[in-house]
Symmetry: C2
Subunit: 781 residues, 2 copies
């Protein structure tokens, strides 16, 4: 793990036992707290040093100009960048007028623990000031999963050997200086101090700052209140200026006494509500949190998480690191989604500014499936967000000359924000991703209310897009030309197998939905004739296949391209996109991330096992995994094809992506989709979970290092436990009356109280294919 | 023509009989004077009004940042933009202290004449000032074809009815305010006042200003001197400031007397020479011009042009507009090239700032072939410029992971300056264009000195590029994947037929050249083995062909793409690139400009006549001619295939592109390649000139509107006259002793003094294919 020795593998927490300042940005990401609405990076209480100070409210972004040296019609003119909002985490401490700063004096001990069951970040530090005063600090931070607007910090201070004069300063700070990676000076200027003050109030122990983003016009309010428990007299002073509110607390602290401050924070945003309305909302949230009190905030948090873990936990015996990693992963996935409520789930959640805070296809393709089987409510919310962006997606489709809706490759508010169209606009497969997540959610939950409203409309509009994007050629094939699949080392190619198969499923699902919800479909202007035209297109879908090699072409012509020269590629040349022009990457056989292999996962029904084996062997040799969105998919197919050791290695790569900073950009935020990939590799890989045709099925396997794998699956309100150990798998119904499933292709009716235990299928050991030279498997700690 | 009635069709001049201010920018382009080193737009003497004030010295450019919202490895960081240098054209006039300005007072007459034989621009104006004073102005402007650094203006003034106090101000003005189309404010700032003063001197009647461009560090010097012929006393004053030098002349003019000023101008540039050296060079040029004197400057100019027209003139009887147009075209092509001497020939010559003043593939592919057969010396110069940029082209190839040299898609100084790689870097065919021009020049002139030096190295380095760009696939074909051909409505496709056929010829020519010049080749590291590898690649070149349709695919898979919906495309939607995203253009069957059809012209030997006919019919239906580089090529193939009316229509479109402003951007400068296209359409189209395999051949045809077509061709120092009229063609040897040629495939030995007259072949009348709806043939005046 990052800094290895400092992170012991513990089953229910992430513990850092000493502070490594060179790893600060990475640990801030890992120690982020969020509820999907509000996100706090794990910055130190005293504000600095920091790797990247970060406080994010979902969908608070600023618009910035997108420059083009040679612009084309339809290039988006305006980009979107997540904004670091008012920082309420800061509690500065002066010890006899010397500021507590870990860079000065002596840090006698420092520990941070992310507690996955309590849902809090705990910090303990003992520090000796340059003048020799010793203090002990304990802080506990939470972002409430039950009170959406609220975060809270309990800050406890104890002086150790002699009386000390203490000053605490609890602050709200807007427009902090944060590093920008913008090259364009106009964009950098826009993002430097993005918040314009509208209100600043302070009285008693409470203060509120309200700002507005200059261009995007979003109003953001932050408030703080405090509850003190001080053993001695305390002098308080509160003040507010446009970008700073500060509660000052001065006291004389005696050894052995504990000064405790609970800082309550509330955040709100709106693009439409007035300043007074937002002010009231913040004050109300603070009052409610104050009424709840610190202890009950903690209790609510733990109770909520108990319920989550009961559904979602995965037991992994035999690999403590993976056990810890999958729980950390589930915790962060949950945090990113749970209270997003009609806002996007960005690629980095609310843990950093990577990818400008944009949401991509990976939300629907990697994150939502995990939640669908573990905590499905946020899935419907996330898809409702996509649904709410339909007007922008329809407008974009019209601009591109297409029917239906064209969801943007990257966005915060639903409008397209990609400046490089071959890897943006052309990646239409995101639309099938939205449709597939919709189908998956409805299949798993039976949520008919969602299905016939947002679900139906999402399916219809995406099907219309595909119907207009493809055409029937002279030989009767339905072709989708000039698009980009998941592999970003190819672009603008004809008949990408992944895209075509996903579009095929999208078209079929939409056709079925129109027939299922005829009246509602009629309101959306879709009838049986239109549904038939989608079904016809799906039937005629062209899937390129290289007869000579006996493998599918990732896109038409792909297998005739020049093989990448891996022998001549040095280790330092990875990731390739930083050392070779797109021109070369696109025209050669080199794959950044699972593309055809992802098709074999999500559309496994469209391939024979022999095809899967040949395809996997072929593409494995040329897939360099320069993306974090690859290892988990390779794990799934490797497991399915019996390469259990390979699958296990990929599981570890996916699970430890951020804990070991394998992509060396965890500093910018966590890779949510790769975190989700830890679950995917375990449950869809070794569990063999599939739902092709709406049928829940399993093909369980256990790699030799593991002695047990246990996971739960929610299915139509029921909860199913799957326990793989000792050469057998047990299926148990935990909630609900009965579930029909398939084990190794055989149908089983599972009834409450009657476990079914079956032997695992025999796997014939086979030699796994090799990875490209220089891109062998990472061996995470 | 522009303004139609104002431009009578005259055989040897371009005459504008009244001034239309709304057409000023266009006429400034058409009335440009240049010698390839120095270019003066046809701005009015008094400086304003103007459409675009322009004075250009070849290769004086400024660097500017190229912004990318999402940058990729290898994207050029720095762009290049031609700079408007010190304006020496300005002669302001005050008539009793009222400035002569055609927008005020009354313009009683105004005529401008570009005299194609004298090589001058003449202007005559009669003007009545707001106070009622009448003056007559005659100016004659030349840019010397014989004294490279020199331009001159004779300015004559006559007052008409009563004595008038006259002030003339003859100026050099640097850093004029000119409109910029830069969207990026950084780039606009860089280009606003690009010249930094280094020296300003004035004494007597002479002044010199020396500047340096801020970023590119190019030194540019401009000087003026004056010769006066005044009937009365004249008061003179000269002064210089960093950006302005001015000679003031005050006199009392009597009716009937003519005040005459000859303004001599000299320009020099250097990236290496010192300020004193450049200053001396300018003063020397001015002294030489003064010694020559106005009359002899005129005489030299006419004598030089007499020689040019004797070689290059094309006689067209039956269409006065085309007769005029082809001479205007040849004049401007000559002007752009003749004294460029080791500098590029930009797409707009030195007539405007269009395309930032960059040179593209069209120089080698359209402009140089015309000069090769009419005035070959500048062709060697132009190719020597390419040769001089080999270090940059080799470095670019290395950066792209390729061998040999990768010439830039657009450049001024030889470094790549394209910000959009799918239509820049990927357009590798420019390398074959350089090689083809090299082969064509050597074949036509027999210039062995050039052939074994620059020519050989250009062929070797381009062949090496192709060998490394392509690869042999599993079936033994040599494939060139992921490149962009001439048609800019497709990009990054596999096995573009044009590119592959041109690369094939390039590889073969290089292999032959290495065997021919073994010793010199060995110095360049090329041996027979390497030559064999090129020959092998050429032999195995993959040429995609659609067996079902019986036509060549422009690129692999092209004919399976969705046809463009021309029925749904409105007239206002053209040019398509301004109204549709590249995403849509690239994936559909719609062609911006001749691509496969250009292949059938330049590699006509690689197609059967039946293939040519089917291909032409197929591509004609989908070619929208949104580029000026299309009509002339379509004319050539239409003529070859017997569609004489269609060929004639395309001839007119090409020939009148700028005279009728068909692309509506003549304001930014002339379309040099389309001007060259007038000659190409006549000589290669109706004359049927081809040199496949180094054999000079003709297939003469005459479209019904023309009664006679006569042109000359230079071939190995000989000069051949071809006269087509009255159903017959006569071949006559004007210089030289004998030439072997082919007429309709039959070999003829032409000997001095023995004309050969043959009947024209019978052309079976056939129905020409239709153009896309909405893109029928332009009917120029």
């Amino acid at each position: 793990m990052i800094g290895h020795s400092a992170f012991p593998a513990e089953p229910w927490c992430l513990r850092e036992t000493s502070l490594d300042l060179s790893m600060l940005a990475q640990t801030e990401s890992l120690f982020s707290l969020s509820n999907g609405h509000l996100g706090l990076r794990g910055n130190l209480d005293e504000g600095e040093p920091n790797g990247l100070s970060g406080t994010y409210v979902n969908s608070v972004f600023e618009e910035r100009p997108l420059p083009y040296a040679e612009a084309g019609y339809g290039d988006p003119e305006s980009g979107q960048t997540v904004v670091n909002v008012t920082n309420g985490k800061i509690i500065r401490l002066l010890v006899d007028d010397e500021p507590f700063d870990v860079r000065y004096g002596r840090l006698l001990m420092h520990e941070r623990v992310l507690d996955l069951r309590a849902g809090v970040l705990r910090r303990t530090a003992e520090w000796q000031s340059p003048a020799g005063r010793r203090v002990r600090i304990r802080s506990t931070r939470l972002v409430s999963l039950t009170q959406r607007a609220v975060a809270a910090i309990r800050y406890e201070l104890e002086v150790i050997d002699r009386p000390v004069r203490i000053v605490l300063q609890s602050e709200l700070v807007a427009n902090e200086d944060v590093p920008t990676q913008e090259i364009d000076p106009r964009a950098a200027a826009v993002l430097r101090h993005p918040l314009e003050s509208e209100q600043h109030d302070a009285s008693g122990t409470r203060a509120v700052l309200i700002h507005r983003t200059r261009r995007s016009g979003l109003r953001i309010a932050a408030g703080m209140d405090h509850v003190l428990a001080a053993p001695a007299d305390v002098e308080l002073a509160i003040e507010a200026t446009p970008d700073l509110a500060r509660l000052g607390l001065i006291t004389e602290a005696q050894p052995g006494e504990v000064l405790s401050v609970v800082k309550l924070l509330a955040y709100g945003r709106s693009s439409v509500r007035s300043r007074p309305a937002l002010n009231d909302q913040i004050c109300g949230a603070l009052a409610a949190a104050r009424a709840t009190g610190w202890d009950d905030l903690l209790t609510e948090q733990r109770t909520w998480l108990d319920g989550f873990w009961e559904d979602a936990d995965v037991l992994v015996e035999g690999d403590d690191a993976v056990q810890q990693a999958v729980r950390v992963a589930l915790f962060h996935v949950l945090q990113a989604a749970v209270r997003a409520e009609g806002r996007p789930i960005p690629a980095k959640g609310l843990t950093g500014t990577g990818y400008d805070g944009h949401a991509f296809w990976d939300t629907e393709t990697f994150v939502l499936p995990v939640l669908t089987y573990t905590a499905p409510a946020p899935v419907a919310d996330a898809l409702r967000w996509r649904h709410a962006t339909l007007p922008a997606a329809r407008a974009r489709a019209r601009q591109l000359g297409l029917a239906g809706a064209a969801f943007p490759w990257r966005t915060i508010d639903g409008r397209a924000a990609s400046a490089y169209w071959p890897a943006g606009t052309a990646a239409f497969h995101i639309n099938a991703g939205v449709a597939t997540a919709t189908v998956g959610y409805v299949e798993a939950t039976g949520d008919e209310d969602f299905a016939c409203r947002e679900g139906l409309e999402l399916l219809i509009e995406t099907a219309r897009l595909w119907r207009s994007l493809g055409h029937v050629d002279g030989e009767g094939w339905f072709r989708i030309d000039g698009v980009t699949g998941p592999d970003e080392y190819s672009a603008v190619a004809d008949n990408n197998v992944y895209t075509n198969l996903m579009a095929q499923a999208n078209l079929r699902a939409a056709a079925a939905a129109v027939l299922r919800w005829r009246e509602r479909a009629a309101e959306l202007g879709a009838d049986a004739d239109e549904a038939q035209s989608w079904a016809d297109a799906a039937e005629a879908m062209f899937i390129p296949y290289d007869e000579r090699l006996g493998v599918h072409e990732q896109s038409e012509g792909f297998t005739k391209h020049e093989p990448w020269d891996f022998e001549a590629t040095r280790d330092a040349d990875y990731p390739l996109l930083l050392h070779f022009p797109y021109f070369q990457l696109y025209r050669k056989q080199v794959v950044k991330q699972a593309d055809l292999v992802l098709a074999m996962h999500l559309r496994g029904d469209a391939f024979t096992t022999a095809q899967k084996t040949r395809n996997f062997d072929y593409y494995e040799r040329i897939t360099v995994r320069d993306s974090s969105l690859s290892a988990c998919t390779q794990a799934v197919l490797a497991a399915e094809l019996g390469y259990l050791d390979l699958a296990y290695a990929y599981l570890r790569e996916a699970a430890l992506m951020d804990l070991d900073d394998l992509e060396q950009n965890t500093r910018d935020g966590l890779h949510l989709a790769s975190l989700a990939g830890a679950w995917i590799a375990l449950v869809m890989g070794f569990g063999g979970l599939r739902t092709h045709g709406g049928v829940l099925s399993f093909t369980p396997r256990l790699p030799s290092p593991l002695s047990r794998l246990h996971f739960n699956v929610r299915w139509h309100g029921a909860r199913l436990g799957v326990n793989i150990t000792g050469g057998r798998v047990s299926y148990e119904l935990l909630d609900g009356s009965s579930v029909r499933l398939r084990h190794e292709g055989e149908s089983i009716e599972l009834i409450a109280g009657a476990d079914v235990t079956l032997p695992l299928a025999d796997i014939e050991p086979r030699l796994a294919p090799l990875q490209p030279r220089g891109r062998g498997l990472a061996r995470p700690s």
